[in-house]
């Protein structure tokens, strides 16, 4: 199989990741709950993972780094901490359901979308500045569109939020591990990310970087600390980490983060951008591609449509030939609506540090055959 669905999850991992998971499963106990070696080593694993994460994302305080089960989990914590019933929330036009559904679950929330065209960061900033009225209570922006790979100008947006004193939540699902991302520079209230995409860890892992004064736990339960209290501790990370941690997953996540740090995020970004340019060039006569004129505003994601093919049928035909891509709305109907592709959807190719040009050549050859033969 040739895997081109890394925007969904990283299937190819560094060898160190499954090794770490397997070792943790048989050697590490419940962190912070015991005074024996297996529990202490487990606690040390969690702390060193927070440290590694802090080094990668410019967060010097390990207490501000919370383990979650996914970016969706982290976004739910962030949104439910900051967005109260009746609040006005400004979002980008490229948000995933992981943002929009939690917002819709809060009564009477007024969701405003800073509409602007795809791959135009200056227009994005203008629309954002125009929509950032005094009525806005919270801003939520994705760093990168999961459908189109559009890299949004979150650094500038973070500055505007700080200047206006508006809390800012960043969805880093598609950028963590693939693009430079610094909490030290962004100073966002929350940055949510999965552990299993660009960070190359196992599914079921995620991270939430917290700098918010208002934090509402989604889960209440045991933390191995302040056990006589009837409510969750005030201090992070305990406040958001009820229940036994996913130690095996976190062991794999640490191995993934170490790999990313060894390779270098800039090097990974450059590799993925080159592959997307190569892929788009090869597809120019076969498909309608959603490609940025300026390659620096597109990550390792390329959406496309082929004339005569339904996107799901094309992805299924590619699947039968050994190519893994995702089609449809990618859990981001707002993004498709904003790009004008809500009705037909797109097929999405997404690359990873392990994707090669040879694999893309094989994909292009098969896509060419399918495009010529048509759906029937």
């Amino acid at each position: 199989m040739i895997y081109l669905d890394s925007a969904a999850t990283s299937l190819q991992k560094p060898h160190s990741v499954p090794r770490a998971v397997s070792c943790a499963m048989t050697h590490l106990a419940s962190p912070g709950r015991g005074s024996y070696t297996a529990a202490e080593q487990s606690a040390e694993l969690l702390y060193s993972t927070r440290e590694e994460c802090g080094l990668l994302f410019g967060e010097s305080n390990p207490e501000n780094i919370v383990f979650t089960s996914s970016a969706t989990h982290g976004l739910n914590i962030a949104i439910k901490s900051l967005v109260k019933p009746g609040a006005t929330v400004l979002i980008s036009p490229w948000e995933h359901n992981a943002v929009t559904r939690p917002l819709h679950s809060i009564p009477q929330v007024n969701i405003q979308v800073a509409q602007s065209p795809l791959f135009q960061p200056e227009a994005t900033l203008r629309a954002f500045a125009r929509c950032l009225t005094p009525q806005v209570d919270v801003v939520i922006f994705t760093h990168v569109s999961n459908v189109f790979g559009y890299i949004l100008p979150i650094e500038e947006i973070a500055i505007l939020c700080r200047q206006r004193g508006v809390p800012f939540i960043i969805d880093a699902s598609q950028s963590a591990g693939s693009l430079p991302l610094s909490q030290e520079e962004l100073q966002a209230n929350f940055i949510a990310m999965p552990g299993h995409k660009g960070l190359l860890g196992p599914q079921g892992t995620g991270l939430l970087l917290c700098r918010s004064k208002h934090i509402t736990p989604l889960l209440d339960g045991g933390t191995g600390s302040a056990s006589r209290r009837k409510t969750m501790p005030q201090d992070l990370p305990d406040r958001l980490e009820a229940g036994t941690a996913n130690v095996c997953g976190i062991a794999g996540l640490r191995a993934g983060i170490r790999y990313v740090r060894q390779q270098g995020v800039v090097s990974i970004q450059s590799h993925e951008m080159k592959l997307i340019s190569y892929l788009a060039q090869g597809m120019s006569s076969l498909a309608t591609t959603f490609l940025a004129e300026d390659s620096t505003v597109q990550s390792g994601v390329l959406s496309f449509q082929v004339e005569g093919w339904d996107c799901e049928e094309l992805a299924a035909a590619l699947g039968r030939r050994g190519f893994a891509l995702r089609a449809g709305l990618h859990c981001a109907p707002l993004a498709h609506k904003s790009a004008g592709t809500l009705e037909e959807g797109t097929v999405r190719a997404s690359v990873s540090p392990f994707t090669t040009k040879v694999e893309l050549d094989k994909f292009l050859c098969t896509l060419s055959q399918l495009a010529k033969q048509g759906a029937f």
Partner: protein, 84 residues
């Protein structure tokens, strides 16, 4: 042997404390707080030798790490709170 036990507000805080001391070359080790002094139940702390206490507290102050409580122990399972 006389030790001081620095009680911290969480496990992660105790880990930060231990790392800061380690970076400064001060030997310490982490421990769960004895039940009778963990007032909220289940606490975490860092033990340092008596001779290192002064430099340890200076390191923690510089690192902006605030101990929650401080106890002295004489190795006989008795703990006496010491004012910070």
């Amino acid at each position: 042997m006389v030790y001081y036990l620095i009680i911290c507000r969480s496990l992660t805080y105790a880990q930060r404390t231990a790392k800061a001391l380690e970076r400064a070359g001060i030997t310490s080790y982490m421990t769960r707080a004895p039940k009778h002094i963990a007032k909220e139940g289940c606490g975490h702390g860092v033990k340092v030798a008596q001779k290192n206490l002064e430099s340890a507290l200076a390191v923690l102050k510089k690192a902006e790490l605030s101990p929650k409580q401080l106890y002295i122990t004489f190795g006989d399972n008795s703990y006496r709170e010491v004012s910070l």
